[in-house]
C-alpha cells in the first residue's frame, strides 16, 4: 500500500469537516434542538461556503482580486430560476429540476465569466479588481432591468420595458419582473442539496489545485514572469481559474435563489462580494479549509448574537483590516507569531492533562 500523500490527508480532513457538519446539523435539526432561525440559515451557509471556496480559487490561488463574485452568483441565480420555473410543467421531479437549474446556472455563469474574463484578465492588480467591480455593477444593473415571462409560446425576455400579464397567453406567468426580481419561486433547495454542492465544489477546487493546471495557476500568482519563462500560457490559466470560479458561484447562486420564494438583483451587490471576500481573507488566502470554517463561523456568529447584529458589518471591516495588517506587516507578523508560539507552548504542556487544564476553569 502506498502511503497517503500530504495532500490526500489534508483533503480527507477537509471533506470530513463538511461531512461531520452535515451529520451534526441533520441530527440537531431532526431532534428539534436547532432554533428555527438557524435551521433557516443552513442552506445559505452552504451557499456562502461554496462562494468562499470558489472565490478563493481566484483570490488565493490565482492571486487576482475579484470584486464582482456576487455578479456571477446572480447570473446563476436568475438563470436557475428561469430554468426551474419554465420546466415546472414538463419536469415533475423537484430534485431533477434543481439539478438542471444549477447546471444551467453554472454554464451561464461560466459564459459570463468568459465574456468578463477575456478583457479583464489582460489587466493587472488594482485595475483588474476595479474592473471586476465594474462588471459586477453592470450585471446587477442589467438584471435590475430584465423582464422574463413564460407562457405557452415559450420564454419572453425583454430589457428595460416591462412585460404586462395581458401580453402573455393563457396560463402565462412572470418569472423576473425588473427591480422586483424573481417572484413566485417554488422552493426546491434542501440542506442535503447544499451539502452535495459543498462536496462538489470542494472536489472541483481541490482536484484542480492539486494538478498540472492548478500548479500552472499558482505559478502565475507566485511569479508571472517566471511562469511565462517556463512556457505557462498565463492568459489561459488565469481564465481557467476565473471561469471555474464563476461557474461554481453560479451553481451556488442557483441553489440560493431556489431557497426563497423571491429574489432580487440588489441582493447580489458589492456588499455580498465583499462579504465573501471577508470569508476568504479571514480563512487565509489560498487556504480552502480556512474558507469553509471562516464562512460558516462568520455567517452564523451574528445570527447567534442578535445584539451585535448592528455591528456585524463594522466587525467584518475591522476583520479585513486587522487580518491584512497582521499577515502582511513584518513587525506585526513576527509579534503575532511569537504570541502564537508562546500559546502553543502553554497548550502543548496542558495536553497530557486535558481534564484539569481545559475544563476545571468552567
Amino acid at each position: 500500500m502506498k502511503k497517503l500523500s500530504k495532500n490526500a490527508k489534508s483533503n480527507a480532513v477537509t471533506y470530513a469537516i463538511v461531512i461531520v457538519f452535515y451529520i451534526v446539523m441533520q441530527i440537531l435539526s431532526g431532534s428539534g434542538t436547532l432554533s428555527s432561525s438557524l435551521t433557516g440559515q443552513l442552506i445559505p451557509i452552504c451557499v456562502y461556503i461554496c462562494m468562499a471556496v470558489s472565490l478563493n480559487l481566484t483570490v488565493g490561488i490565482l492571486g487576482e482580486l475579484s470584486l464582482g463574485h456576487a455578479g456571477f452568483m446572480s447570473v446563476g441565480a436568475f438563470t436557475g430560476v428561469i430554468v426551474a420555473m419554465s420546466l415546472q410543467a414538463s419536469v415533475a421531479s423537484g430534485p431533477i429540476r434543481l439539478v438542471l437549474a444549477m447546471v444551467v446556472g453554472a454554464v451561464m455563469a461560466a459564459i459570463v465569466g468568459v465574456l468578463v474574463g477575456v478583457p479583464v484578465l489582460r489587466l493587472r492588480g488594482d485595475y483588474l479588481a476595479i474592473v471586476t467591480l465594474a462588471f459586477g455593477e453592470i450585471i446587477k444593473n442589467i438584471l435590475n432591468n430584465l423582464y422574463v415571462a413564460y407562457d405557452a409560446e415559450g420564454l419572453h425576455i425583454r430589457l428595460l420595458t416591462a412585460i404586462s400579464k395581458s401580453e402573455l397567453a393563457e396560463g402565462g406567468f412572470m418569472i423576473i419582473n425588473g427591480p422586483q426580481g424573481a417572484t413566485g419561486i417554488t422552493k426546491l433547495s434542501t440542506f442535503t442539496a447544499g451539502f452535495l454542492l459543498m462536496l462538489f465544489t470542494l472536489f472541483v477546487v481541490l482536484n484542480l489545485i492539486q494538478s498540472r493546471s492548478g500548479r500552472a495557476i499558482m505559478s502565475i500568482r507566485d511569479n508571472r514572469i517566471a511562469a511565462e519563462s517556463v512556457g505557462i500560457n498565463v492568459t489561459k490559466y488565469k481564465l481557467m481559474a476565473f471561469v471555474v470560479s464563476a461557474a461554481l458561484a453560479g451553481m451556488a447562486g442557483a441553489l440560493y435563489a431556489m431557497n426563497f420564494t423571491g429574489v432580487a438583483a440588489k441582493k447580489f451587490d458589492f456588499n455580498t462580494s465583499i462579504l465573501v471576500l471577508v470569508f476568504v481573507v479571514l480563512g487565509g488566502m489560498g487556504n480552502i479549509r480556512g474558507s469553509i470554517i471562516a464562512a460558516a463561523i462568520l455567517y452564523v456568529l451574528p445570527e447567534l448574537l442578535r445584539a451585535v447584529n448592528d455591528y456585524r458589518m463594522l466587525f467584518y471591516a475591522i476583520v479585513l483590516i486587522v487580518v491584512m495588517l497582521v499577515t502582511n506587516n513584518p513587525t506585526l507578523k513576527n509579534g503575532v507569531n511569537a504570541v502564537w508560539t508562546a500559546l502553543k507552548g502553554v497548550f502543548v504542556k496542558t495536553v497530557p492533562v486535558p481534564e484539569e487544564g481545559g475544563e476545571s476553569d468552567e
Binding site: Y127, L160, M313, L314, N328, N329
Partner: protein, 293 residues
Amino acid sequence: MAFLSNLISGISLGSVYAIIALGYTMVYGIAKMLNFAHGDVIMVGAYMCFCAMNYWGLPPLAGILLAIIICTLLGIVIEKLAYKPLRAATSLAVLITAIGVSYFLQNAALLIFKADPKVFPSVVTLPNLRLFDGSLIISATSIITVIVSAIIMVALTLFVSRSKTGKAMRAVSEDKEAAQLMGINVNGTISVTFAIGSGLAAIAGVLLCSAYPTLMPTTGSMPGIKAFTAAVFGGIGSIPGAMLGGILLGVIEILGKAYISTELSDAIVFAVLIIVLLIKPTGLLGRKINEKV
C-alpha cells in the same frame, strides 16, 4: 436648449468627479496604491458639513472649513494606521485593506447617522442664472462647482510644480528610494499627499451634496468609484488628466442618462472604464510604466 442644459449639468457633475479624481490620482502617483476609501472620505466630509449647519447652527463656510479639517486629519490617520504598515506588502494586500477601511467608514457612519437619507441644504445660496428668457436655467451650485474646481486645479498644479513640498511629491512618485537618498522625507510627503487628497474630498462632498441633496452612508461610494474611473480615463497619476477625465465622465453620464437610458446610466459609465482600460490602459494623458525584470 435641453442639450445645453444637460451639457452644463454634466460639466458640473464632472467637476466634482474631477476634484475626487485628483485625490485618487495623487495618491496613486505617489503611494502607488488605489485608496479605495477615498470615496467614503467624501461622505464623511458631507456629514460633517451637514452636522455643522443643521445641528450646530454654523454658517455654510464654517461647515465647509470644519469638513476640510476633519477629512484632512482622517486622511492622515487612515494612512498612518492602515496603509503605512503595508508599504512593502503586495498590492493585493493593500487593496483589500483599503476596501476594509472603506467598509469601516461606511458602517461607522451607518451606526452614527443611521441609514435614513438626510436632506443636505445647499451651501450655495445665490439665485440661479436665467438665460434666453428663462429657457436655460443654470443653477448657481453648478456655476460655483465649476469655478471652485477650476481654482483647485490651478492651485494644485502650481503647488506641485513650484512649491518645495510639491517637488518632493514628484520626486517620491518617480523613485521612492532615490528621493529618500536625496534627503526627502518620504513618509511625510506621502502623509501630505493623503492630507491634500482628503481635504479635496471634503470639498467634493459638500459640492456633490449641494447638487444632489440626498446624504447617506453610501453616498460616497458610487461617486468614488466613478471618480476613480475618471482618474483612470484621464491617465492615473496625471493632474490635468484627472480634470479632463472627470469632466468627460460627468458629461458622458448625464448625456447617457438623458439620451440612452436612466436605468442603465451606471452601466454606461462602467462600460467607459472597461473600454478605456482595454484600449488605452494608461488613459488619455497618462504615461506608460515598464515592469523591471
